[in-house]
Amino acid sequence: MSLLNHIPKQSADAPLDIAVPMFEDAPLISGNQSFASVTNRIAGVVEGPTPKMWWVLFSFSVSLLMVLVGSVGFLVWEGTGIWGLNNPVGWGWAIVNFVFWVGIGHAGTLISAVLHLFRQKWRTSINRFAEAMTIFAVICALLFPTIHVGRVWVLYWFFPIPNQMSMWPNFRSPLLWDVFAVSIYFTVSLLFWYVGLVPDIATLRDRAKTRAKKIIYGILSLGWRGANRHWRHYELGYLILAGLSTPLVLSVHSVVSTDFATSIVPGWHTTIFPPYFVAGAIFSGFAMVMTLAIIARKAFHMEDFITINHLEKMAKIIMVTGLMVGYAYSMEFFISWYSGNEFEKFAFINRAFGPYAWAYWIMISCNVIIPQMFWSKKLRTNVAVLFVLSIFVNIGMWFERFVIIASSLSRDYLPSSWDYYSPTIWDISTLIGSFGLFFTLFLLFLRFLPMISMAEIKGVLPQANPHHTMYDKPGVAHQSR
């Protein structure tokens, strides 16, 4: 196995005759797992009978998905007028949701790619569903720019398709950069996720009992036999994809932020936006991974694989990125004051004390104040606290985008045009419906694909070390001291 090359130092995997290290982290995987037990536990979720709870959640999610279908259908039928948009505020919840969902996706890529490159072993327990989350979040995100345009049926004009009129899209427009950035992101994320899935799908194929499963998993596993060459190519390919994905973590949300940063709207026209958006994206993405991880480990009894240790590490990242976001908020105020530009100054004062102050202070509370609780080890190792806080962070990050978009547009240069924006029932139903789409896809993923990477988990087990006494006994668990 590839992991032979870099023996994990801190895992409790030292040969028994080596002295016990002085400082030792808690084991990444608990519950005394063997290779066989890992496979049985994780593949078992896919192979076993469908839990009743899954059906309940799935029905609920599909109902929400139908709300989305209905809302989008009505939108296409009637026009964007069903939303609360008005003349100064041309972008509303649709773009808020877009930025929100794109941001969510970032954590998946960060965990899979960046943490892979940095050899963070703890990522193996969460990377699979974090990546799945990325893909589903990007699907939700792609939905919104698609439906928010006035004439959905000519959306293909966004793409540089050669045509007889030689009409090209406007390469100066940040919206076009978005098209490229998000579609590349989606493609690379999908490939990355799928490549990572291949060994696990092969495992499922080998264990499949019905013909249909054998065929489907057989096709999806691309003839994987676990041969040494396969592993060598796989590892290299995975590394390359990780390398490709890493800049995307930074670029996608930077590009999304240029939608705002390159405009001349006071409150949008800010050079701080790219790093600030990336930090915010990772912040919200980790919060979403946290939410999902806590649900999944509870529902499928995966506490051994997603340990409190994993959650605590994520909590630390949330706290760090939360601080970055808070710093960005304060810098925005400083720069708008320091610039001496009346319009800029007003945009930020108006944000905090104008008609959208309620949203601003929700944002500040959820994104800056509440994550400070993670300074306490006690709180950041309490699953219930983590769960509630992760939801707060997501609410806060949704409001961040809302505040940026609505408050800036509603009061820009000429006071005569100022107007207040408030959503309609259709804005709300579309947002709720997008969660339906997300959870439907996520539940299907949990049901049909291994939610945790079996192959990679095995690599971080103590017995993966060739010097380990149990190395050649795959069915036997490692005995801890």
Binding site: V76, N87, G150, V154, W157, N170, S263, P355, D419, W426
Partner: protein, 1026 residues
């Protein structure tokens, strides 16, 4: 409108006798019965029920989505998820088999005609496309329009295509033919011939027309005992009475503002709503316009209760309740007498307390007037009593203005409105002495049904015959209803205030089974229908044209005016010193409020209430559309504990009215202004049930009601306002921001300041060094279009807005959409207040697309749907637009308008005829905005090219520029150093709005200058507040 209509149970519950007599069904005897189904069906309740059940022409608003529709849409949207390639319906066009001569398809033809408006005649030029009129412009040869047109004139084209006009005559609600009426009328004529017309009464609107006047005279000579009453709800009757009181002559004054240095307006909105406003605006602006700091300009003083457009233009405005204007005028006359100006009138003692500094004000004003003898104008509004007009006449006489800046004429061919005559008619109706009543236009059941007396009287008349364009409130209570043609379907003639004669020529054959007023007047005396053309020609042949008739007639039709036909001016002298019957005019300090009733800036007296362009056109001052409101000041509202938009109940003399409150700075305290024309019940799909009928509260013989009590109801109404007035709603943050921005947005100085510092405009904003990071496209070749707006003469009258709507097929979106901030106006008039909240100044700024050279909208459009042309136009490619709305977000002027729905989907077929065929109608999901009238640019370029000519400066006029009554908008080629636009842009008052953003707008503004009296001067720069 925004409330969900509640379906009414059938049959409607309450059939009480309406105190106003609007209900035919008599249920005074307790239990309610209806006598026939027909009567029930005519009752307002049943009509309400019908309308609520089946609202005519209302858009199926998505917010009222039914469960059934939701489910079917759900199903459909899933089923059709992939099926988006919808095709447009195929429509066939049929070419001419025998092409009419002179019609070139696609090339418009312009005809001169005249729009009769009260006793004035407004000269117009009508653009027609393949025989259908599409746009109205002012006739430059006509003295009453001088090439401009106000909002009413422009929008009257929509009245022609009103789908709610009556399509055929009817009797007792059943459709009949004109032949049936002529047969009936001939019987009547025979009967009345025997008694010389006794028992026959006619009621018409005021008119000034040689042919109508001839026919009226003929009728009265035939039936000497018949009565002919003339009545209009809004009229200049008291002005004529006042002048007659002073000079003992019936005279029509015309004011020459172009030669007046000082103008005092007493409760007069002469620039906007009072008679002859188009000519007044043009003339006023001539004396107002300055080209450099060395020029002089006129000075306008306004004394008024409610803030008007004229008040906004004023250099000094004093808010005084309307009822105290008389006291003010007396005080002024006394002050003038003190200064040695011989105002030879016995003045009563009076007292006036309007403000802290009104004495200084009057003194300064009197000095100003006294030093500008024969170069000033004092005029009073039509709402003021005759005594004020008489005194004003005396003051003008003493200042030797009469004959210099004010010309008086003996009006001919004119039938003026008279309230006393009307009251006499109503008395006669009540006595039952009228057997047959003929109503020629007008809608007295709505406008003049005080205490329900008119309708009660109407029920006692044997035969009631009503000629009007629609089944309005009066028609519903008359036996016969006969449709009258629109003036653009009719032959007729008219005479303007100064006596200029003009012909009304039809632009299109009557769309419905209707006849023109000329034909109807003739029908009344002769009993037969004579073609209007013959009637008009015979008047002109016999009375007006001497010499070669055909040649002159042809010229009159071609030019739209009979040149040289104006009256001889008369020089009336003051003949009466005893204007005032009382020796003391007490301070009108009645307890309670003073309510003033003004014609609506949108609907006039209700005549335009079914006109959707006007209905959606916000009031220039309140910026409220689709409603009328009770306008009052902050302190009045605070005194009576009323909040903005709260429905308040006003009571006086046993009458009451409930109307939402609108708080407006600058309204005189303890006064409330109501707009007439709203609250109609039988106007049509647009005008019905919009706003409150203020006629129910207005005294018949006055436009002012005093001693009004008010109580709040605690209920609020949704009001569609196109410009929120922050700052008023205790939003200090917004108020401070506006206070900081306003001096830069709307640059203004007093004339003295301007003279001291001619470059003040450039000093308002500290512009950074504006440079570009890349090599800019240079716009130095060919035509480079630009615009200049002179804020110094812009009155904010909205004419440009309606002109643009007509020219560019701008859709009407309805109250709900306006309330959501989705109005579509390509050119809007921003209104700001500056100064003291209780006594502010008001300024207007027309804003359309500024056609920035570095347009922020163009950079962000992902599909290049908005691009720059080589001529510097910011072009919008509708076909390419996907509707991301990014351009609108990035527009610092917020001039881009988005089609949130398919706003033209439910346009009635007939209204589509009013659309300009040169301009694309935009589909939903598409962004639109001002194009600088690109269709006009290209038309003129093509015309010049086809004629092998060079395009001259001034050949291309945009619609807004063409109609502007003050010539505030100038358009042209900025690349031509000799063009008017280039010269304007070189002036030191020229500035680019938000120029510091380096977007380089092609539209620039010229700063506003107020010519303040140094005796009253307050420093301008210190007082921008709101």
């Amino acid at each position: 409108m925004s409330d969900k209509p509640k379906p009414m149970k059938f049959p409607p519950k309450a059939f009480q006798l309406d105190p106003d007599g609007e209900n035919l069904i008599d249920s005074a005897h307790g239990k309610s019965y209806w006598r026939s189904y027909d009567q029930l069906a005519n009752s307002p309740e049943f009509q309400t029920f019908l309308e609520n059940e089946f609202p005519p022409g209302t858009m199926d608003l998505p917010n009222k989505l039914s469960r059934k529709k939701f489910l079917s849409l759900m199903g459909a949207s899933i089923a059709l998820a992939g099926l988006t390639a919808c095709r447009r319906p195929v429509e066939k066009i049929i070419p001419y088999v025998n092409a009419p001569e002179e019609i070139i398809p696609g090339v418009s033809k312009n005809y001169a005609s005249t729009m009769p408006f009260g006793t004035n005649a407004l000269g117009i030029v009508v653009e027609t496309h393949e025989g259908r009129p599409t746009k109205i412009e002012g006739n430059p040869l006509h003295s009453s329009s001088m090439g401009s047109a106000n909002a009413f004139m422009q929008a009257s084209i929509l009245n022609l295509y009103d789908p709610d006009r009556s399509q055929a005559p009817s009797r007792k609600g059943y459709e009949v033919r004109w032949e049936d009426f002529t047969a009936f009328w001939n019987e009547q004529l025979t009967a009345f011939d025997a008694v010389a017309g006794e028992g026959l009464s006619l009621l018409s609107s005021a008119f000034a027309s040689p042919t109508l006047f001839r026919l009226k005279t003929e009728f009265l000579s035939k039936f000497p005992k018949a009565t002919w009453t003339v009545f209009d709800p809004v009229s200049d009757e008291r002005i004529y009475q006042g002048i007659e009181l002073a000079s003992r002559q019936k005279l029509q004054p015309v004011h020459h503002f172009e030669s007046a240095a000082i103008v005092l307006s007493l409760d007069s909105d002469f620039l906007f709503l009072d008679s002859n406003n188009v000519a007044n605006s043009r003339r006023f602006s001539q004396a107002r316009r300055i080209m450099s700091e060395k020029d002089s300009m006129n000075r306008l003083y306004a004394v008024e209760s409610g803030f008007t457009v004229t008040g906004a233009m004023a250099d000094h405005r004093l808010k005084v309740p309307s009822a105290q204007i008389m006291n003010f005028t007396i005080e002024l006359a006394k002050e003038l007498q003190n200064l040695g100006i011989p105002v030879e009138v016995d003045l009563p003692t009076s007292s006036l307390t309007v403000g802290r500094d009104h004495i200084t004000w009057i003194k300064a004003l009197a000095v100003d007037l006294a030093t500008h003898k024969s170069k000033s104008i004092v005029l009073a509004g039509y709402r003021q009593p005759a005594e004020v007009h008489a005194l004003v006449f005396a003051i003008n006489d003493a200042l030797r203005n009469n004959g210099k800046t004010i010309t008086c004429y003996h009006p001919e061919h004119t039938a003026n409105s008279s309230v006393t005559e009307y009251q006499k008619l109503v008395d006669d109706l009540g006595k039952g002495s009228v057997k047959t009543l003929v109503i020629l236009g007008g809608n007295p059941a709505y406008t003049a049904n005080e205490n329900g007396e008119f309708l009660k009287g109407l029920n006692r008349v044997e035969h009631t015959i009503h000629f009007t364009d629609r089944e309005n409130e009066t028609a519903q209570n008359c036996e016969w209803h006969l449709p009258v043609s629109h003036f653009m379907e009719s032959w007729g003639d008219a005479v303007s205030f100064d006596g200029t004669l003009s012909v009304i020529q039809p632009m299109i054959a009557p769309l419905f089974d209707s006849h023109s007023l000329t034909e109807i007047y003739s029908l009344l005396s002769t009993g037969e229908l004579t073609p209007g053309f013959d009637l008009v020609q015979s008047t002109w042949r016999e009375k007006l044209i001497s010499g070669n008739f055909e040649q002159v007639w042809h010229h009159v039709l071609h030019d739209g005016v009979f040149s040289g036909s104006n009256y001889q001016a008369v020089r009336p002298a003051l003949k009466n010193k005893n204007i005032f019957t009382k020796s003391e005019i007490s301070e009108q300090n009645l307890p309670g409020l003073e309510c003033v009733f003004i014609p609506s800036s949108s609907l006039w007296d209700g005549e335009f209430s079914n006109n959707s362009w006007l209905m959606e056109n916000p009031d220039p001052v309140t910026k409220v559309a689709w409603d009328n409101v009770a306008v009052m000041s902050h302190s009045t509202a605070a005194k009576y504990h009323l909040k903005n938009k709260e429905i308040a109940k006003f009571t006086a003399d046993g009458k009451s009215i409930s109307c939402p409150v609108w708080i407006l700075p600058g309204q005189a305290d303890s006064t409330v202004t109501f707009s007439l024309g709203y609250g109609r019940t039988a106007s049509g799909r647009i005008g019905n049930k919009v706003g409150v009928n203020a006629y129910k509260f207005k005294p018949l013989d006055s436009d002012i009601r005093q001693g009004v009590r008010v109580t709040g109801t605690g209920r609020f109404q949704i009001i569609a306002c196109t410009q929120d007035h922050h700052g008023l709603d205790a939003d200090k943050l917004a108020a401070d921001a506006i206070h900081k921005r306003l001096p830069a947005i709307l640059r203004e100085a007093s004339l003295d300041e301007y003279r001291l510092n001619p470059g003040f405009v450039k000093e308002v904003v500290e512009e950074p060094d504006l440079f570009s990071l890349w090599k800019d496209k240079s716009y130095d070749k060919g035509f480079q279009w630009g615009m200049s707006v002179d804020l110094n003469v812009c009155t904010g009258c909205n004419a440009c807005s309606i002109a643009c709507q007509s020219e560019n097929n701008i859709p009407v979106v309805g109250k709900d959409q306006v309330e959501r901030g989705r109005e579509m106006a390509w050119i809007r008039l921003d209104r700001y207040f500056s100064g003291d909240l209780e006594d502010p100044e008001m300024v207007f700024q027309p804003i359309a697309c500024q056609h920035c050279e570095m347009a922020p909208c163009e950079q962000v459009c992902p599909v290049t749907a908005t691009v720059h042309t080589d001529e510097g136009l910011n072009a919008m490619v509708y076909n390419r637009c996907v509707g991301t709305r990014y351009c609108a977000n990035n527009c610092p002027y917020k001039v881009r308008r988005y089609n949130f729905y398919n706003f033209t989907k439910d346009l009635p077929e007939i209204v589509k005829i009013a659309q300009n065929p040169d301009v694309t109608v935009r589909f939903r999901g598409v962004m639109e905005k001002c194009t600088f009238c690109v269709q006009r640019i290209n038309q003129e370029k093509l015309r010049a090219k086809n004629n092998h000519q060079d395009l001259k400066d001034g050949d291309i006029v945009t619609a807004c520029q063409q109609t502007c009554p003050t010539d505030a908008i100038v358009f042209g080629n900025i690349n031509d150093p000799d063009s008017r636009i280039s010269k304007l842009k070189k002036q030191n008052r020229d500035y680019a709005l938000l120029g510091e953003l380096n977007v380089r707008p092609r539209t620039t503004y010229m700063a506003k200058i107020r010519n303040q009296n140094s005796a009253l001067n307050k420093n301008h720069f210190e007082k921008h507040i709101q």
